[in-house]
């Protein structure tokens, strides 16, 4: 196990180095840079002034030098300055991370709290009216684009309550925060919960046909004990994998939700930074997201061992 953890840790480092090269190269491949954008806002381009600005921002250096400067800075904890705000990158990213993290955790919580039990209910009531109803709900969750759903929710709020749950000021207390984030979290979690529900259902159906389930029922175990004790614990492994993947992909879903609900998290900020070619923000933020994804996958793999004693890593 120890050697496995060391191997995986080294692999994570290699993955992050690869990611740093890919993101750095891709950003430079996209046409235009911050100087073009800043001059665009001024309605003209003066080649001499643009060259001066590129010089000031270090964009005139050779690409390998720029990469080296970034990596050295990163290792020393110096993430550079945002090209747009001219503030330290860490000061721009740090306050936004908790906002997105809370939203993501809440969305994941919604998706698991609804997806898992409804998937079980759907499976144990296979081909019943309830099963059909839940399958329709899950299909709609998978097919409704989250931006459309989010806009629909906003319109409904305005129409019914004359108000809308968008972010205009930081919430005053935990309750306000929960209220503010719960609607967007539900909007973004709906798709994930549908996916979890369908996967739980199919996984449960497979497990419910196994001999040991029949044995448990023959021994007189209750339905709840069979379904949630024996079946679900065995059916949950592929679901855990999906939850891990969904957690990693959630950032993509949050871009739209943060935009529609006007939540100042990192997902929307990242898109803006890409549009502004704010390299220090994009590079460091993508690296951070990469780190989260790699670590999440690692933790999910370790979770397998805890959940299934048959799995052993060497």
């Amino acid at each position: 196990m120890a050697s496995y953890i060391i191997r995986r840790t080294l692999l994570m480092v290699v993955t992050l180095i690869g990611l740093s090269i890919v993101i750095f190269a891709m950003l430079r491949l996209v046409p235009g840079n911050i100087a073009d954008i800043l001059f665009d806002a001024a309605g003209f381009i003066d080649p001499a002034e643009k060259a001066q600005l590129e010089e000031e921002l270090g964009l005139a250096d050779p690409i390998p030098v720029q990469y080296w400067n970034w990596i050295v800075g990163l290792l020393q904890g110096d993430l550079g300055f945002s090209y747009v705000s001219e503030l330290p990158t860490i000061d721009e990213i740090a306050p936004r991370l908790p906002i997105t993290a809370k939203l993501a955790v809440l969305a994941l919580f919604f998706s698991v709290i609804f997806g898992l039990p409804l998937g079980v209910i759907s499976a144990v009531n296979q081909n019943s009216k309830l099963d059909y109803f839940l399958r329709v709900i899950s299909l709609s969750g998978l097919s409704l684009p989250s931006f459309w759903l989010a806009l629909l929710i906003l319109m409904a709020f305005v129409s019914w309550f004359g108000s809308m749950p968008i972010y205009t000021n930081p919430p005053d207390n935990l309750w306000d925060e929960l209220l503010l984030y719960s609607v967007p979290a539900a909007a973004v979690g709906f798709r994930s919960s549908a996916l979890i529900m369908r996967l739980t259902r199919s996984s449960m159906l497979e497990v419910l046909r196994q001999d040991y389930i029949r044995t448990a029922k023959a021994k007189g175990a209750s339905d709840n004990s069979v379904n949630y004790g024996h079946a679900l614990s065995n059916a949950v492994l592929p679901v855990i994998t999906i939850i891990g993947i969904e957690a990693a992909f959630l950032i993509g879903g949050l871009i739209v939700t943060e935009t529609v609900f006007n939540i100042p998290g990192v997902a929307r900020f990242l898109v803006e930074a890409i549009q502004w070619r704010d390299y220090p923000i994009v590079q460091n933020l993508v690296m951070f997201i990469g780190l989260v994804v790699v670590v999440t996958n690692f933790l999910v793999d370790l979770l397998y061992v805890a959940l299934d004693p048959r799995i052993k890593y060497e």
Partner: protein, 529 residues
């Protein structure tokens, strides 16, 4: 705007205006507005967008400004701001301003004539400090030097008489900057003498300003502050206004088609539907065949059905005109009878025939159609008119396809002349020919995207600039405008109308009907409790 609509608007404005000035202004409250995006910086002199002037104009003062209680910007509505009075010398080449005494910058340092001198030296690139970008350098082509005569008197020395120089100084784009603050600081933490102090800009989140308690105009501002929430999604921000999350919309953010929805959902909203002094126009790469042929360019102008553009894009609420915004809202634009004689503005069927003849003369026809590319920004405001243009060009044997260019690469593409036909929008900072002609058509101007250069016309630009007889100057401006249209320098399609909406509790705000950049000082605005 149609005269009938305008009259109705005037009547509404008059009805609203009476109680505004009859009632006593109430102090207090923070104005909550939304902002459509991150401002590129807080330094007004470095930017050319109301994403900066709208929030930051209240931080500063000008020497003079357009009267914030009048709905027109013109030489007649220029009033004192940091200047107490001004006078021209007998040669009309020196204008001297007497300055307010006892004014302090937000950091407590005293304001003096040196600050005025520094600001215009900065704009002319004469000082030690340099602006990172200087989009309005061309405005001061006629300014020889600025001198601080003493702490409270400053003189601008011009090469030739220029009555509109005063209008340039009155623009929202002409604040006085402090000498002692570096341009880089002005971008991130601007210091002014104005009614509101900058608090913070959180990227993509909010911009906050608080009342300047030591503002030198006693009793003002009435508001305790202004807070802007940055909302990128237009659907969200408009719904937010409807749901009363915001006191006012971003300038011109409510398009004419959207206005109907806003009024239906929030009937109490007060909406100013005015020309923005932003025009749709096309830029043609005159260095690339066959567009180097004047006949092909002129044929394109003949093909454009400007009424159709106005009807489709603005539900008929736009204005057909030349470079200058036409009357009744514009001061300098060609009147309808003059406009009708300009190529491309006559009877459409006859115009298309003329266009077809010109194309045939250039070697194109129904059996030999010209393939072309119309490039534009990948934004709906640009894409939609480009699609209409492509359709209209078919009538003169041009089969064009649309090429969308990402926003960030638009000016780079134009600067490299990597386009054939471009759909463009041009905003005028001040409704004055000295701005419109020099910025967009003068030889060597940075914002003259097509590189159009006509020395004879340039001489006329300078001549009109020096004329003090307004009526005579107007006639010369019309002549220049008509010539620019005939030369297809940057053919105009239409002047764009849009709305800015407020909740009825917002009082004392007057939106200008011939400009979008100079009405945001907000020192007269108050909230009805």
């Amino acid at each position: 705007m149609q005269p009938k609509t305008w009259l109705a608007g005037l009547a509404l404005a008059a009805t609203l205006a009476v109680p505004v000035y009859a009632a006593a202004q109430q102090a207090g409250g923070t104005l909550r507005a939304y902002h459509r995006g991150n401002p590129p910086s807080g330094s007004i002199h470095e930017e050319a967008t109301y994403d900066t002037t709208r929030p930051y104009m209240g931080v500063f003062n000008n020497l003079v400004m357009f009267d914030q209680t009048k709905d027109m910007e013109s030489l007649d509505t220029v009033v004192a701001d940091l200047a107490t009075s001004w006078s021209w010398d007998s040669s009309k080449t020196k204008i001297t301003f007497q300055l307010q005494k006892g004014v302090k910058w937000h950091d407590g340092k005293p304001f003096t004539a040196k600050d005025v001198q520094c600001t215009w030296d900065l704009l002319q690139g004469k000082g030690k400090a340099k602006l990172r970008k200087n989009p309005r350098k061309i405005w001061y082509w006629n300014l020889k030097e600025t001198t601080a005569d003493n702490d409270h008197q400053v003189t601008f020395h011009l090469n030739q008489p220029q009555p509109s120089f005063l209008a340039l100084l009155a623009s929202g784009y002409s604040p006085v900057y402090p000498c002692h603050v570096a341009p880089a600081t002005m971008r991130t933490n601007p210091i002014g003498t104005g009614p509101f102090k900058f608090v913070e800009l959180k990227q993509n989140e909010s911009i906050k300003f608080v009342k300047n308690p030591d503002y030198w105009k006693k009793g003002k501002p009435y508001l305790d502050g202004q807070e802007f929430t940055i909302v990128k999604s237009r659907s969200t921000r408009v719904l937010g206004f409807v749901a009363d999350k915001f006191d006012m919309t971003h300038p011109n953010d409510i398009t004419i088609p959207l206005l109907k929805d806003v009024k239906e959902q929030n009937p109490a909203a007060v909406c100013y539907t005015y020309p923005t002094n932003i025009s749709y126009n096309i830029i043609v790469n005159r260095e690339q065949a066959p567009f180097d042929n004047p006949d092909v360019r002129l044929a394109m102008s003949y093909a454009m059905d400007r009424d159709a553009f106005i009807k489709i894009l603005m539900n008929g609420e736009g204005a057909k005109g030349g470079v200058m915004l036409p009357p009744p809202n514009g001061v300098w634009g060609m009147p309808p009878d003059v406009l009708a004689k300009t190529p491309g503005y006559g009877d459409k069927t006859a115009d298309i025939k003329k266009g077809q003849e010109l194309m045939k003369k250039a070697g194109f026809g129904p059996d030999n159609r010209l393939s072309a590319v119309v490039s534009t920004r990948n934004v709906a405001t640009y894409r939609d008119p480009a699609v209409i243009l492509i359709d209209q060009l078919k009538a003169i044997y041009i089969d064009a396809e649309l090429k969308t260019i990402e926003n960030s690469n638009w000016h780079a593409t134009v600067a490299k002349k990597d386009y054939q036909i471009g759909m463009n929008l041009t905003g005028l900072a001040v409704d004055d020919p000295d701005v419109a002609l020099f910025e967009n058509y003068a030889c060597g101007s940075q914002r003259n995207y097509t590189g159009y250069c006509n020395k004879d016309l340039q001489a006329l630009f300078e001549k009109q600039s020096s004329m003090s007889d307004v009526e005579a100057r107007k006639k010369l401006v019309w002549e220049i405008d008509a010539k620019l249209q005939a030369d297809v320098a940057r053919p105009m399609i239409a002047h764009y109308n849009a709305a800015t909406c407020l909740q009825p509790r917002v009082q004392g705000f007057v939106r200008k009907r011939n400009g979008s950049y100079s009405d945001w000082r907000m020192e007269n605005v108050w909230l009805k409790q």
